[in-house]
Structure formats: C-alpha cells, structure tokens
C-alpha cells in the first residue's frame, strides 16, 4: 500500500528541505526501495520473533546504524504504563458496574434505576476529553487534589505512580462503568424474564436466592461478553485519555507516530492493540462456552 505514495514518507518524515541523497538513504535504510510484499513479509517475520523493526525517527539522524531506536524499545515501557492504567481501571470498574447493573436490573423502573439510566446515558454521550478536562479543571486546577498531568519517569515508585494516574483513572472509570453497567443491566433483565426464574419465585425462593442460585449460573456467558467487550474498548479508549493527561502510554506514542507518519511504530502499536483486543474478546467467548450448562453436560 505504501507503493501508492512513494516519496511521501521520506518527505513527511524528513521535511521538505531534505536533499535527494538524504531521501534516498532514508528509503534504502527503511527498506522502502523494495517491493511491498517483501517488506511486509520481512516485517511480519520480525514481529513473530519479537522484532518490530526500527523507528523512522532514528533513520533521519544518521546514515549508520549506531543510534537506531528499535520500535520494541520504544513500545515496551509505554505498554507497561498503559497496562498499569488499564488494570487499575478494570479493578475499580468491573465490580462497580456489575454491582450497579445488577441493582438497576433488580429495581427496574425505580427512582434509582431512572437516575442511573439518565446518568450513564449522559456519560456515554460525553467525549472522553470533555470528561477529562472537566475533571482536570475542578480537581487539579481549582482544587489541587490531583496531578493535572501524569508524568511518569523510570524512578517513579508504585504508589507514586498510582497517585499520578488519579484523574485518568477516574475519567476512564466514568466512561467504562457507564457502558458496562448498561449492558449488564440489559443482560440481567433479559435473563430475569426467563420462565425458570418465574418458576423459582413460584417455588417460594426469596429474591436473593433467585439471583444468586438461579440467575447467576446462567449469567456468566452474557457477563463475560460484557466485560470482555468493555475491557477491549478500554484498551483502545485509553488513547484519548493518555493524550489529555499527557500520560506516557502506548496510545500517546501511537498518536505521535501517526502525526510524524512513523510507520513502523504505528504498525507495532496497532498490532499490540489488536492482539489485546482479540485476546480479550476471545477469552470472553471461551468463558461463555465453558460456563454454558448445555455444553458442559452434553446429552
């Protein structure tokens, strides 16, 4: 596909003032002088071996290979930061939204349900950067409770790290909880309409037992789907939030690479995002299959 725009990449990366020699040198070192499929094959083989290639940004400086920055070395620390944030969000958001969703489903039509419904509908309608900047304005600028930006260095300790991601964490939790809670509520309501739930009630079972003993064993598949879907969304949605709070994660790295059209870095980030996304969805499917009683106990 890069064939479509040959000189463009060199120009975009090196700037319009670059001499033809520099452009040629860049193209040769980036492998852009070779056919597309060969390049793609070489890259893919590299990825399988853990080699994501070399960033274009390091090709501009010198013509030798001394100071090459590999994509892997750029991505790894960033990936660590992103996973730290995502994991923190997941730990807070998953129990919170499952609990809220369950409550809203149980007390469907109540004031609580309606308030939560309106609140979550509003929250999913807001762009992440809107929530992010509101939080920053109120809780970092006007009330200095949190760090406005989340600078992380290699010397930052675990607790310090946690403290610095306060605002991005809250922002992502707000977004994710809204989505996940609505989906949980729908899944539970769907389940509670089953005849076997009515039967359990007619057998004299109290609501708590109906939920824990009758509904929940059948709810793992839909809940796993909801959680998987939202965690996958979280990993992707993190991009905007990282930019808002200047958090050094893989999302911001990717955006910067897109702006400078540093293709190897973009590719590397994309493949990692895609892998996490596919992995999460796949695990949701597997949990759904594994917990289905019909498949657990075949005829």
């Amino acid at each position: 596909m890069f064939e479509l725009l040959p000189g463009n990449f060199a120009r975009a990366v090196l700037g319009q003032s670059a001499t033809p020699e520099i452009v040629e040198n860049f193209n040769r070192r980036a492998g852009l002088d070779r056919p597309f499929f060969e390049r793609f094959g070489v890259w893919l083989w590299g990825v399988v071996q853990g080699d994501f290639g070399i960033s274009y940004s390091s090709l501009t400086a010198s013509s030798t290979g001394d100071q090459d920055r590999t994509v892997a070395s750029m991505i790894l620390p960033r990936l660590e930061n992103t996973l730290f944030l995502a994991a923190a969000v997941a730990i807070v958001a998953v129990p919170l939204s499952l609990g809220l969703g369950l409550l809203a489903a149980l007390y469907r039509g109540s004031i609580f349900d309606r308030v939560v419904n309106a609140a979550t509908l509003t929250s999913i309608s807001f762009p992440e950067f809107f929530i992010g900047y509101i939080l920053m304005l109120f809780f970092a600028v006007q009330l200095p409770w949190f760090y406005a930006t989340s600078m992380i260095e290699s010397t930052t300790t675990f607790w310090d790290h946690l403290e610095r991601i306060g605002l991005p964490l809250i922002c992502l939790v707000l977004v994710i909880v809204a989505h996940m809670m609505r989906m949980t509520r729908a899944a539970i309501i769907n389940l509670l309409a089953s005849p076997f739930i009515e039967m359990a009630r007619l057998k004299g079972m109290p609501p708590s037992r109906v939920i824990w003993h009758h509904a929940l064993p059948n709810a793992w598949a839909p809940i796993a789907t909801v959680v998987g879907l939202n965690l996958a969304y979280l990993v992707v949605g993190v991009v905007v939030v990282e930019v808002v709070f200047a958090y050094p994660g893989i999302g911001r790295l990717m955006v910067d690479a897109v702006v400078s059209r540093d293709v190897p870095v973009v590719q590397g980030c994309a493949i990692i995002f895609a892998a996490v996304y596919v992995l999460l969805n796949l695990s949701a499917d597997i949990i759904g299959i594994v917990t289905n009683p019909r498949l657990l106990h075949p005829r």
Partner: protein, 542 residues
C-alpha cells in the same frame, strides 16, 4: 374449604394504561378436589391460577378481593409470608417444562430445593421421596434420572419431573397450568394418566387449567368456564358435560360436532411418488412417501411432531427439492426446485399457514396484499382489480372497508380469513393448509373450517390439509394419510382409516385422542393394561 377467593380483580399493564384481566371472580376449592379452569386465550385462566398463589406476573397487579388459603388471607400477609407457602403448601406446574427448569442445575436438586431451603425434610429424605414420586409417575430409571440436566430429558418426561417437583413438599394445593398443551397426543395421554393417578392417590387438591375440554373432562371433579375475565358457568364435571346451561358453554361443547360426508371421486390433481427428502444433506425426514390427491377433495395428512408432514408441504411447494421421487401436478412432472418453476405453475399451488400473524406482512394493507396477488398472477388492474378484491373480501365474509386495514387492526380469526383470501385470490387448483386452525380458539377454528368447506363447494378447490388434530380430520377430510417418523403408515378414504383394523401406530394415535367422556382415560388405560394394540408402543416410548 381449602381455598376461598372472593371478588378477585386483576389488571394488566399495556403501554401506560391498566386493562382489567379478571373482573371480580370467585373461586372455591375443597381439600382433595380437582377444579378445572377452562376458557379461550385471554379468558384469564393462568392469571387466576397464579392469583391462587397470591402471585401476579410482572406487569400485572391484584387490585381487589380476598384470597383465603387454609384460613390465612394471602393478600393481607407480607410477601415474605406468602413466599413460605409457595412450593411448600401451594405448588405450580408450568406449561413448558423445558423452559421452566433451570438449565444450570440437576433435576433432583431442583426438585428438592424448596424442601431443603425451608427445612421441610433432610436431604436424604427429600431425595428418597422424590425418587418415590418419579417411580409413581412412571419415569424410566427413577433412581438416576434426577442426576440429569433438563436438556438431557425428553419433553414428556420433563413434564412428569415437574409434577414430581411440585409434589416434593407434599403441598395441599397444586396449580397445573396447561401441563400437556405442548406435548403430542401419544405423549400427552401418558402424562395425563400419571398426573391423574398421583393426584388421586395422594388426595391432593388441584386447579387444572387448560383450553382443551376433553382433557379437563378427564382430570377435574368440577369445571369452571371463564371468558373475558369472568365466570360463565360452574358445575360438577358430569353435569357440565351433559347439560351445559349458558349459550357460550353450549357453543364450546358443539365445536367438535362438525362432520363432512366423504367423497373420494375425481381425477388425481396431485401425485407424490416415492419421495425421499432430507435437510441439508443430513438426516432423512421423508422415506419413500407416496400420496395421491383427487381433484376437488380434501386429503388430510395426520401425524405428530417429527412425522414429516410439514416437510411434505415443502417438497410440494419446491422449497425443499427431494433426493429422489417425483411430484406430478395435473399429470405433469413438477420441476423439483422453486426457482425452476414457471409463474403459471406457482399460481396453481397456494399455501395457508398455521399462524396468521407471521403470515401477513404487518406493514401492508389488506387490499394491497390481495391486489398484488391478483395483478401479479392474473394481470388485473384498475377497476377489475378493485372488483376482484371486493369479491374476495365478500368470499371471506369481511366487508369492503377491511381493504384499508393493516393486519394488526384485525382479530386472529379475521387474519386467517385474509390468508385464505390471499391463497384463493389467484384461482389455484390446490391449496396446502398447514395446521390452519391449531393456533386459533376453538369457536373461531370451527368458523374457519366451515368457511373452508363452503369455499370448496363453491369453487371446487382441492385441499391438502396437514394437521395433528384428529377432530379436525373427522370434520373436513375425504381421504386420510397417517404419517409417522417420515413414513406413510396408512392411507385411504376417511371411513376406512378411522375404522378398525388399524396398523399399530394408527391405533395408538386414535386411542390417545382425548374424548369428552369423563371415563375415557380410565377406560383406555384399562384397555391398554389388558394388552390392547399400541400398548407395546407406549411402553417402548417410556
């Protein structure tokens, strides 16, 4: 008096308004008595049955009346009190056992759940008594069947397990809500027999809800007829059957009296020869089926679910090309697949479906639907088209204003009439009727059958009538084809097929159809116990 319900009023919510479902109803029940609740859809039978447990479905509410069970007013007590009665002293058996068992738990655990939860019995006692109930209900392998999960057990067996579950705490009252409606007749008789036996022997009181008169005649000591949320009539079973008082009850009773004189003359309009068919190259659903249909007559194809009778219709219409065998129409061999058939041939074979609702496009007006068929196949337009639509509406006894209506503005019976008009609009030779009355209430069904018979007399159209209901067959057939597991068991003129001697399956099928005689079930069981025909087949099913 075990149960006394007075002045019960129940409302149901539709969109934002509340509609009355039960409009001031009384119901009383003595210990050991079985009360039959009978009525058509929307009569409020199930709602009333659940109200006997002090329960209202989501979207329903009990607004007035008292429910006194064994001296306790269920409406006056808090929900937690009522809950302790449910399952322990008042139990419920639902229509669809397959949907009402929790797929995640073993049957035995579900059966003993209430007993364990309220400490009625210890685990081993509860298990033992449940296994006894399984045995009483003639379930196969009573010791171990409880270890299975719901989807591992057949429908008829599951219904019996549900009965056992209801009786696990030895309740005083059991509410049976159409427990056999979803079953085939040959399975139904077994379940009916088991329920009747166990209720009688353990001397339980029961409310038995059904829309089937013959079924209720077997099960109940006393019958209450409901309509539009009110009691029409109430009397002991024998008196109710022999001497109904109200006009509505009499009309219900009269439904099964429709008869048609047999006439099997006429040249063959349709010949199905040695057809074998399968879905998706898998299991064969039709084996070497041969059926001949005389012009202007009605051939009834009778069979239970899985007999292949609907597949036969798909082969005739070309939706399912057969693996081997031929379908001849008017002496001409029909191309096997729908796509290969010319428009002129498509016109000649029409179809009417079981459910009128999914058979009519909800977004198209009646006149538009009929008009499309008329102009597409007969090439009529303008005034001629309008005139034909009017004729068709007249034919189905609807006035001309109906052409502007949408399907949702029609009642169920009217919708089925429109389906008939659409089929007849293009002047077909053969109409395939696929269970066209089984989704309708009995009185409406009767009217539809009368209409079909009149149209046959007037227009000379041929029917291939697919059904599982023997009463309908008696009403309209000239010839009968009995199908079982994809094979034709017996075929011939109605009088021959319905009179002995029968092949074993026909015997079993015919003897399993409930009759209005309250002694019917006992007599059949006695007969079968003596080793009459079909007994072997029934045992095999167990």
């Amino acid at each position: 008096m075990l149960l006394e319900m007075r002045g019960i009023e129940i409302e149901g919510q539709s969109e934002d308004t509340w509609f009355p479902i039960i409009k001031g109803m009384d119901l009383t029940l003595r210990r050991g008595e079985v009360l039959g609740l009978i009525g058509e859809s929307g009569a409020g039978k199930s709602t009333m049955g659940l109200a006997a447990m002090g329960f209202a479905r989501d979207g329903c509410r009990i607004t007035a009346g008292s429910i006194v069970f064994d001296g306790m007013d269920l409406r006056a007590m808090p929900e937690s009190q009522r809950r302790k009665l449910r399952g322990v002293r008042i139990a419920y058996v639902a229509q669809s056992a397959a949907a009402s068992f929790n797929p995640a738990h073993r049957l035995i655990d579900q059966c003993i759940e209430t007993a364990m939860f309220y400490g009625v019995a210890s685990a081993s006692e509860a298990r033992q008594s449940t296994v006894d109930l399984f045995r009483r209900l003639h379930l196969p392998d009573p010791e171990n069947i409880g270890e299975r999960y719901p989807h591992q057990v057949s429908g008829g067996q599951l219904q019996r397990v549900m009965t056992a579950m209801a009786m696990a705490c030895s309740p005083d009252l059991i509410v049976f809500d159409e427990p056999t409606t979803a079953l085939d007749v040959t399975t139904q008789i077994e379940v009916l027999a088991s329920i009747k036996e166990v209720v009688r022997e353990l001397h339980k009181a029961a409310i038995y809800i059904t829309h089937d008169l013959a079924v209720v005649a077997q099960m109940a000591d006393r019958i209450m007829v409901l309509r539009y949320g009110e009691v029409v009539e109430e009397a002991p079973t024998r008196q109710m059957l022999s001497d109904p008082q109200e006009a509505y009850t009499k009309s219900l009773w009269a439904v099964r009296s429709l008869r048609k004189d047999e006439d099997t003359s006429g040249d063959k309009v349709l010949s199905i020869r040695n057809v074998t068919a399968a879905y998706g190259g898998g299991v064969r659903v039709l084996h070497d089926v041969t059926v001949e249909v005389p012009r202007g007559r009605t051939v009834a194809v009778v069979g239970e679910s899985g007999s292949g009778k609907s597949t036969l219709a798909r082969v005739i219409t070309g939706l399912l090309p057969p693996i081997s065998g031929t379908v001849e129409f008017d002496g001409q061999r029909l191309p096997p697949a729908l796509a290969q058939r010319p428009k002129s041939l498509l016109r000649k074979v029409q179809m009417i479906y079981q459910m009128p609702d999914p058979a009519l496009n909800p977004k198209r007006r009646i006149g538009d639907m009929l008009g499309r068929a008329v102009s597409y196949h007969l090439g009529l337009s303008g005034k001629a088209r309008d005139k034909r639509i009017s004729e068709l509406l007249e034919m189905i006894e609807l006035d001309d204003s109906y052409r502007e209506r949408l399907p949702m503005e029609l009642s169920g019976g009217q919708k089925q009439r429109v389906c008939i008009a659409r089929a007849l609009a293009v002047e077909p030779d053969l109409v395939i009727c696929d269970e066209v009355t089984s989704a309708l209430d009995q009185i409406v069904a009767e009217e539809i059958l009368k209409l079909l018979l009149r149209l046959q007399r007037d227009l000379g159209v041929t029917y291939l009538y697919i059904t599982h209901d023997i009463a309908t067959v008696k009403a309209i057939a000239d010839e009968i084809v009995v199908m079982h597991q994809g094979k034709v068991v017996e075929s011939g003129p109605k009088s021959e097929v319905l009179s002995p001697p029968h092949p074993a399956y026909t015997e079993l099928l015919l003897s399993s159809v409930p009759e209005m005689d309250p002694d019917w079930l006992d007599n059949v069981l006695a007969e079968r116990a003596r080793g009459g025909a079909g007994a072997a087949a029934v045992e095999g099913d167990r």
